[in-house]
Each structure stands twice: as structure tokens, then as C-alpha cells.
Symmetry: C3
Subunit: 324 residues, 3 copies
């Protein structure tokens, strides 16, 4: 519970209205009541602003005149809203320390301000930086270095052996992972995500990278600063991804590629070659009803043949002037 004045002060925003108004939480424009704070992040919601029952709204100064209640002015209302969620999270960060049901190897180094959740495992020689949180059931394998202010969500696995094998006739001979995994500061790693250790050198996740649930990052990969990777994406071994990239959900990236900075990849795209130009990249086909899809999909198998038929027609067409 904060007053409007307190919220304004903590978020560093100017406000207009009753400084002593009590705000107990956050809600959307459509559902907020008089003791709740809301936000307008896009002009598309202006009709909802007009009708809102919120006690106060975070908005861009340009929309202030249309606000029916108290408001806070923010240059970027969505960013201010994000900061407000931290304010209203209402619970302290988890108590630093190792939960009694966690398993931490004697040779691991866990910062005094870090927290290790129940049934989490920190193996020999691993390092957990200041204020980092290893949540329930997460596994930090031997020697992994996790920076400061990181969050590793439940059941994520950092530093398992990579999927590297040489063939001996029909048998597979494992290539042992002699490298490690180094994770920078302010990295978020989602539930059930797996990041493998390197073969000779380290797998590296740079500062500020954010990774959703059930992402897989193979051995030897390097992910650049502030890159965002959405759920269910898989990145094969030895691929290097630049800074400030965004990979949408379900993306696949094959191994041994280089993706430059500022690349966006749309959902469920398979990236099969290196990308040297910033921009947005896609593969796949549009969703339609299954009947139409089936009729079109069968033609995909004839595409090259269609192209040749097209060329033959063009050839005939071109010759016509000669024959008349």
C-alpha cells in the first residue's frame, strides 16, 4: 500500500491529484478500482482510459487532458508500469541463503546475498554471484559461473554436458565437455531451460540476456548482451548470437552459425545460415483451415515443376513474336 505521492516519488514521476490517495495495487484500465493504479501504454486504449475506475493512471503527458482521474506522467508509461510492478510486488526478495532442502557442494561459492531454493542443486566449484536467485529444483552443474542479480527459475539446468559425439563405426564416442558455462550479470533464465557447457572453451551468456522457459542453448554458444530469447527456442551448438537480438518463441537455430547484433527472428523460424545484416527474419507458411492447407501443401511438392512449366510457357510466349 502506497500513497500516490509515494508512488510518484519512488518512480521519479510528476503527478497530478491527491498526494495522499491510497493505492493498494495495480490493475488494467478496464478492471481497476479507486484504490488501484493503472497505466495507458498505447493510444489504442484511450476509450478504456475514458471509462476507467482507477484511482490513478500512469500515462504520457500528451494524454493527460483525457484522464478522468489522478495521473502520473511518464515518458514511457510501459516502462514506468514495469517499475511499478516491482514496487507493488508486495513481498521481499527471497531471504538470502541456502534453503535447508537445497544441495550445495562444499566447494561451491554462493554469495551471502544470493538465495538457493528448495531441492536446487549447486555442484562442486560453481559460483553464484551477489543477489542471484537459484529457484526450486534448478541445477547449477560443476564449475558454472553465474553472475550477479541473476534469476534462474525452477528446474532450469545450467552446465550439463554438450551433445557432441564422434562415430566409431556405428557406435558413438562421447566428446567430453572440458569447457564450462559463464553467465553474466542481470541474466534471467526461465523454468526448465537448459544451457550446456562448452567442449574446450566456455559457453557464454552475456550481461542482461533474458531467456524464457524451456529454451535450449547448446554447447559452445555465445549469446550477446541484452538479447531476448522466447520460450521453446532451441539453439544448436557453437552458434554465436549478437547483442540486442530478439528470438521469438519456438525458433530453431542450427549449429556453427553467426548472427549479428540487432537481429529479430519471428516465431518458429528455422535459421539455417549465418545472418550478417540486422533486420527481421522469418520462415514457415501461414496458418489456414486444414482443407485449404492440404490443397496448397501438396502443390509445395510440385513447386519446382511448376516453375519449369511457367518457364516453358514464357518461352513459348517469347517466341510468338518470332513466329508471327
Amino acid at each position: 500500500m502506497y500513497t500516490l505521492g509515494e508512488v510518484a516519488q519512488r518512480l521519479g514521476l510528476r503527478f497530478t491529484g491527491d498526494a495522499s490517495r491510497r493505492l493498494r495495487g495495480l490493475a488494467s484500465l478496464a478492471t481497476a478500482g479507486p484504490d488501484q493504479l493503472s497505466f495507458l501504454s498505447s493510444a489504442a486504449y484511450l476509450p478504456q482510459l475514458a471509462a476507467t475506475g482507477a484511482g490513478a493512471v500512469i500515462l504520457d503527458r500528451a494524454h493527460a487532458a483525457r484522464c478522468p482521474c489522478d495521473y502520473l506522467e511518464a515518458e514511457d508509461p510501459y516502462l514506468a508500469f514495469a517499475r511499478a510492478t516491482a514496487l507493488f510486488a508486495g513481498r521481499p526478495a527471497p531471504t538470502p541463503g541456502v534453503h535447508e532442502a537445497a544441495s550445495v557442494a562444499a566447494s561451491a561459492r554462493v554469495a551471502a546475498t544470493a538465495s538457493i531454493g528448495p531441492c536446487a542443486v549447486v555442484e562442486e566449484g560453481a559460483v553464484i554471484g551477489a543477489r542471484s536467485r537459484v529457484e526450486a529444483g534448478a541445477v547449477i552443474c560443476r564449475g558454472v559461473q553465474l553472475g550477479e542479480d541473476c534469476i534462474v527459475q525452477p528446474n532450469a539446468v545450467l552446465g550439463a554436458a554438450g551433445f557432441g559425439y564422434a562415430r566409431d563405426g556405428q557406435d558413438w564416442v562421447a566428446i567430453h565437455s572440458l569447457g564450462g558455462l559463464v553467465v553474466g550479470d542481470r541474466v534471467a533464465i526461465g523454468a526448465g531451460t537448459t544451457i550446456d557447457r562448452g567442449t574446450l572453451d566456455d559457453t557464454v551468456i552475456a550481461d542482461g540476456v533474458i531467456i524464457d522457459d524451456q529454451v535450449h542453448i547448446g554447447h559452445n554458444c555465445r549469446i550477446g548482451a541484452n538479447t531476448a530469447i522466447a520460450g521453446c527456442t532451441g539453439i544448436a551448438g557453437s552458434t554465436v548470437i549478437g547483442a540486442n537480438c530478439t528470438l521469438a518463441g519456438g525458433v530453431g537455430v542450427v549449429g556453427h552459425l553467426e548472427i549479428c547484433d540487432n537481429v529479430h527472428v519471428t516465431a518458429m523460424t528455422l535459421v539455417t545460415h549465418s545472418i550478417a545484416e540486422p533486420g527481421s527474419y522469418s520462415s514457415g507458411t501461414p496458418v489456414t483451415d486444414t482443407g485449404l492447407w492440404r490443397r496448397n501443401a501438396v502443390r509445395f511438392k510440385q513447386l519446382d515443376a511448376m516453375q519449369q512449366r511457367l518457364r516453358a510457357l514464357e518461352h513459348n510466349d517469347d517466341r510468338e513474336p518470332d513466329t508471327t
Copy 2:
């Protein structure tokens, strides 16, 4: 071990044959022996029925005359078979209670008839309903509400923080998940599946939903009653899916969509827009040998150009009458 008469009585089916015949288990028509029960779920298996060595068979009355052994008549033999698997499962439900290697927070409320497996974690304020099973290694995060008669398979994670961020220059500022996760009754959740909590409101999984292994459901999603979601499917945040839908394996659904009731999505389809009409939906291309695929795939990059060439030819074709 049951007699044929006991099976008939427990499944509520009429039988023809020796009531005292002992049946020790279930097997397919092709492999069943005289002390095993089998089933005929489709006329396609009639040849196997003729040759079966089973002691008894569950079948539709229409096929009774062709059965070489004792039988039980069922309107829906596959459904009766499903019920028979429960009968022959042969082991009691797990003993209610909290395994000594589980970690349950003091403020969590676990029904006396629920069971919490080894190395499972139930965090502060979570609620586990009557007869629900939280299996080994599963994590039920703070405040999550799990209904009655649910099964949460090993290493699933319910209620981790959502993947929501605002950008502050190049840095990401986390939007804290102030909402929770509410799971209805009779919900099955597969091994390694992750369902995130909501941002302001709750993520909601309705009664009777069944979810396979390694499914990811993002923050704020709502999944309607009796919807089935197969393995490796990912649903991005704030998407609402109706009741009685079936999502096949590996499906992707982007965020902020609405899918109506009774929608079927085929395997590995990416759903990029809301769906307001019940029916079946697909995307992707058919699998072929890689050589043929490559020749066709390269043409996909020229599809729009091909369409223009086609239009040019049609134009010439149309003009011809005028020029002759």
C-alpha cells in the same frame, strides 16, 4: 487378477462367456493370452480378432458374432478399455501425504488426501486440492491453486514468473508477476511442462484440461475446459483458448490471441491470428526427401515473383484475342 464376471460388473458391461474366467491383465489382440483381456476399438482390427488368443475381448455388440472367445459388450470399446486400464493398474493410488524428501512450505495447504512426491516443492501459500498428486521433482510456486483430482507429473513447474519485460534503452526491466495461477479440477499436467503465473490477473487452466509433457503456457493465458494440449506445444502470453480444443504436438500459438471453442490445430502449426470459427487449422509443408525438398524450397523464395510471371502470362493470353 479379476474374473470375467468381476470385470463386467466393475465396468458396467454385459458379458458372454465363463464368469469365473480369471483375467490377470490387459494386452493387444495380437499378443493376449488366455488369462488376458483385450479390446477391439476399430473394425480395422477384425482380422486380429479372428486370430486372437485372448481370454476375453471388449467389443461393440455388432462384432460379437465374430469373436472367437468370451467377450464384454461396450458401446464405446476404447472408452471401456480406458476404464479397464484403471482396474488393472494393479497398484493403489500413491499413499496420500507428503514424501519425506519433499519440501512443503509451512503456509501451503495440502489436502489430506493429496500426495506430494519426493523432491517435489510446494511453496508458500500454494493450495493442493483433494486427491491431487504432485509427482517427484515438480514445483508448485507460491500461491498457486491446484484443484481436486489433478496430476502434476515429474519436474513440471506451475507458477513461475512470466516472460514480461519493458525496455529501458538497451536494458530489460522485468515486469513482476503479481498475478497467480489457478488450475481447476481433474487437470493432468505432463512431465517437464511449465505454466507461468499472471502479471496482474491469474493464469487460468479450467477443469478437465489435459496437458502432455514439455508444454509451455505463458503468463495470463486462459485455457478452456477439457482442452487437450499435446507434447512440446508452446502458447505465448495472454492468449485465450476455448473449451474442447485439441492442440497436436509441437504447435505454437503467439501471444494475445483468442481461439474459440472446438478448434483443432494439427502438429507443428504456428497460429499467428485469432480463430473465431471451430474447425481444423494447419501450417507447414509436407515432408519429402531432402533433394526434392531443396528444389522446391528454393522456389518458395520466388513464389511472389512466380505469381507475377503467371499474371503477366495471363495478361498476354487475354490480350491475344485483341491482337489477332
Copy 3:
């Protein structure tokens, strides 16, 4: 730390150079120093060989003349390198035995030479073969049989119930998994991977299979010897895959199929029908920039119509000879 002579002896290779040269580890040609061993696995790296600072290099005899330092001759340098990683792994195999933070049921049988990691769970009646490693947080469900020399990486789940249901009106009735899961010898299973138990018979993973992280294998599947399955692949229930197959990352295989031996499936392909011919198989479309992709993707919805327009043009074209 080994001498060159010791490395040669342990890997069974001929060497040329200083037998007493001390080698403390492995590195790539580009980064290796005089106390490191490197390898040349492809002629593409010959320029790096010329400039390497390595103390010794594993290479094919054919390239020996171009090596600026000591060398070891191997018929298959990459395979010899794999064996060298085991040599230089530098740490003993994990101490056999059950970690004090593991949970092993009284009725489970764990070989004396096997190791069970922290927070791993071995349920009733499961069998863990000699020298097998069940790593942190992995769950081996009741009755699962794991062979010898297997590795189960962190948070994998072996033997959860399959995703099988019959419909009773709108409700789902679970088909209980009465079968088990049998895993052969020398099988590697990646972090977060899930393999479900069978319905009536067992799910079977043959000897020498290698499986990457976050793979899902459904109930009743059988995977043939030495097949390799890369990360994020999902195989639906009751599918049978032959020996020596390779499934690249993110592949989907629908249920009830049969794939013969020696099939390769490229990344993110969806296999929708059985495959009876060895070879390579693919689906999907190539990645391009999103603008071009969008223009082409919209035409995919018109492919069948384009084919008909093409046929109409051809028809007109064909008739022309008749009309002149």
C-alpha cells in the same frame, strides 16, 4: 597432464616428436599453446594448422608433412580427439553411490558402481545398471529399467505416464500406463528430456542411443540401436524408429509411424508418414528477411489456385497449334 608419449600410448596412435613433451590439455588449432594438444579434423583448417602454436596435433597421416609441430597420426582424427577429451577430462567419474540428497525407494535396485546425484529420484522397483549415472534432479519412475553405462542428465524424467485418453462425452478418461520403460546399455539422455512409459507393453530405447536435451519421446515408442536424437525433438506415441537414424534438432514425428534404419531427418522437419527408404528427409521453408517472406507466404495460400491458373494457360497454349 600427460606426456606426448603417454597420450600416444593411451590413444593407440603413432607419434612424431618429443615423447616427453608435457601436454596439459586440449585446445583448438587457433588458440592452443605449446603445452596443449590440438587436432585437424578437416582440410578446411589447414591454414590454421600452418599457424598453430599447439605443442602437438592429432591429424591424418596425409597432412603430417604440413604440420609445424609434433603430431599424432590417426585414421579418424575427430574420433581420436573424442577419445582425447576423455583422457583430459581431468576428473574421475562421479563417485559411485547414492548422494545423500537423492531419494531412492527401498525396492529400487541400484548397481554398486552406479551413481545417483543430489535431488535425483529413483522410484519403487526401478533398476539402475552398472556404471550408470543418474544426475542431479533426474527422476526414474517406478519400475523403469536403465541398462549399464548410461548417463541420465539433470532433470530428465524417465517413465512418466503416457498421454493417452479416451473421450467420455466431453470428459477425458485416462488410459493408465500399465507398461514400463526399458533403456538399453550405453544410452545417453539429455537434461530435461522426457520418455514416457508404455500403455500395455514397454517403451524401449535400444543400446547405444544418444538423446540430447529437452527431447520428448511418447509412450510405446521404440528407438533402434545407435540412433541419435538432437535437442527439442518430439516423437509422439507408438512410433517405431529404426537403428542408426539421426534426427536433427526440433524435429517432430507424429504417432503410430514406422521409420526404417538409416534415416536422417533435417532440423524442424515434421514427419507425418512412415518412412521405408533410408535417406534424408525434410520439410519447411527457407529463412529470408521478413518482408520477402511475407510476400511469398501469402502466395502459399494461393498455391493450388496458381497451379490451376498455370494449367489453364498450358491448356490455351496447347490448343494454339490447333487453331492456326
